[in-house]
Assembly symmetry: C2
Homo-oligomer: 389 residues x 2
């Protein structure tokens, strides 16, 4: 068996260029760039100049069948991830799709079905923030039951400031037909993924969205969502792209503890010495008065621990590429399995759907209803063809 | 004109006792305790022992007509605030009601009508947190337009931990018939008031509540509410009484700045150098890339200022009493006018109503519908009589 897998990069834009760069820097020990393809002649010239030993293609299907690559990554507009993933898997090539897995659940389910039909191939997704050591540690803490049953989750993630010049940089950006949405499909999928990876998927959502707030765009750049986990627990998710001094604050309350994360860098973990209902039941009014007047040593009730971590530029992406390569080579478990990509798309779609219908939406919404309402927006926009499946 | 007003305290419980105490300590220069009344003989004995020079009554109506008091304060179960306020105003006595102004809008509107019929009398409400210098400063900043038009507000206020022993301390606590609700009518009215005092009232609300989570109580002790201001702005409000390591974090985003308050003690105020849409319009993609890669000096985009303040025990309450006394004596403007009490009750009712009906509720909901649904809960609970008006 070779000791390195050969990556085919589909699309040498900002992301594709970054992956090529971290591999060239040796940050991905078990991966080399086998080929690069791009429909833009200028990008192909750039590829030849920067990576003279790497094969360059115009058409991704030709690259897939060239024998130059073992795996591909899809750094292309979101709508294209499923069809490219399906084409690769159908040709015996492992597929790493960039996030989001697709724009709407119906196409993502087709991709997952293709992956299930080729279990010998690796199917992953670039949820690089799962490689943030802070979130990996928090997932371990929650999975181990250290904060007990989750009662409430709240994430405000508005560090995604994007000025008009960003939206104007590509014709497909922030359009219904070219991108399929705004902050929910472009910036926030990382948090939509982490939120569910750590806390589980909600059962329903009610949302209010803002479309083109302070920007000349048709899609949402403001989201306030209230979710219901179906077991008494609730949550909120707030994001937008016009908060220049953005907030990133994620809070998880359990019945045995609590986690508060600031800026995806620092976490305060509180662990109760007993489950909260037991602490509650064990206090009479005299104890309560002592607590209110500051006469109780809080250390007798809980412990607190702070974690901090930093991820240097490119390290998370390099780690996903390396984990993917190792899964191909020796079966090392994937941190970001491709099928997990459905969760964030489903939640993003449900948030859209609640805003479009004005109703609370089950996460088991009708895939066809979503696609029909998305197509209505693509039709009205008049810039790109409607989606057929 | 006398230089001090004489206060009649209705109910010598924890709050009434505190008001008597801060007045006795000289923290309210223009007020003396004129009389105390309580239906509990033990409390009357306590009053005579602690305040031997003060008249003590069993019945508040007798105290009102005794000539011993110029103003009364209602430190009694919430349902009673309106009827006691109305009785006082009807007898020519100034009325300071404790918060909340009442349990349901219909009774609060009757109180406000009584106050409007006696404009020569002062009508106030004990929103003591309006006296927190931090919130007063933030209100000035928002009112002056320093952060521009409000786009989003988010408050997580879960520092209201209350164990079972607290709920068991009185028969009326945390019942529909005796108290009229849980955290929305007892603990959170302060924040429901401050939120609207600073940011304005929302137009509608959608909510999910938890009833008796981890406690043997019928009423809500968990609230997640999503509000719509009707002009594109949204907000969330989260509170509960089972978070022992509680959070108090309030964020206001405007199109010219932002305020983040931690623990009601510390505020970070960001002021943009230009309105956000102008900053957005003035950046091309090259500027954006500089920003993403940390090559922009953020000082060129905004300034940041931190405020901190502390309120010693009792000072806020003493300040409300003093402000009320000065309004009676010389017309000094009230910081917490009684009519303002309607806003927090209306919002609390709308949050209940959304949970009870599963629908988004206008803040102009039908007062009678709310009362009917509240009475249905009082009936089911079977401990207290239904409310007639």
């Amino acid at each position: 068996m070779p000791d390195k897998v050969r990556l085919g990069i589909i699309g040498l834009g900002q992301q594709g260029g970054m992956y090529a760069s971290v591999i060239a820097k040796g940050m991905v020990p078990h991966m080399v760039v086998g080929a690069i393809c791009d429909t833009d002649p200028a990008k192909r010239d750039l590829a030849r100049e920067q990576y003279p030993d790497v094969a360059v293609y115009q058409d991704y299907l030709t690259m897939i069948s060239s024998g130059d690559v073992d795996v591909i990554v899809t750094t292309v507009p979101h709508y294209l991830h499923p069809e490219m993933g399906i084409a690769a898997l159908g040709s015996g090539i492992h597929a790493l799709v960039d996030k989001p897995a697709g724009v709407y659940t119906k196409q993502v389910k087709e991709l997952i079905a293709a992956a299930e039909a080729t279990p010998e191939l690796t199917f992953g997704i670039m949820f690089n923030q799962r490689m943030n050591p802070l979130y990996r540690r928090l997932k371990e803490i929650v999975d181990a039951g250290e904060i007990g049953k989750i009662l409430r989750t709240n994430w405000i993630i508005t560090t995604w400031w994007r000025p008009q010049g960003y939206y104007d940089s590509s014709a497909w950006r922030a359009t219904w037909g070219g991108e399929g949405g705004g902050v929910l499909v472009n910036q926030a999928p990382h948090q939509l993924d982490l939120w569910q990876w750590i806390c589980g998927a909600p059962k329903s959502v009610y949302s209010k969205l803002g479309y083109g707030i302070g920007r000349q765009i048709a899609v949402e750049n403001e989201v306030t969502a209230l979710v219901d986990y179906g077991d008494g627990a609730t949550g909120t998710f707030v994001t937008c792209t016009y908060d220049i001094a953005g907030t990133d604050r994620f809070e998880i309350l359990g019945d045995q503890g609590k986690i508060v994360v600031e800026d995806s860098k620092k976490a305060l973990v509180t662990r109760l010495r007993k489950p909260e209902p037991e602490l509650s039941a064990g206090m009479d009014m005299a104890d309560v008065m002592k607590l209110f007047t500051g006469q109780v040593d809080l250390d007798t009730l809980y412990t607190q621990e702070t974690f901090e971590s930093a991820s240097p530029w490119g390290q998370q992406h390099a780690d996903v590429l390396e984990n993917f390569a190792l899964n191909v080579l020796d079966g090392t478990p994937l941190i970001a399995a491709g099928a997990d990509g459905l969760h964030a798309v489903r939640l993003a779609n449900a948030i859209h759907l609640s805003s479009w219908t004005g109703k609370e939406v089950s996460l088991d919404f009708d895939d066809d209803e979503y696609l029909a309402l998305l197509n209505a927006r693509i039709r009205e926009e008049g810039k790109f063809p409607e989606r057929q499946t």
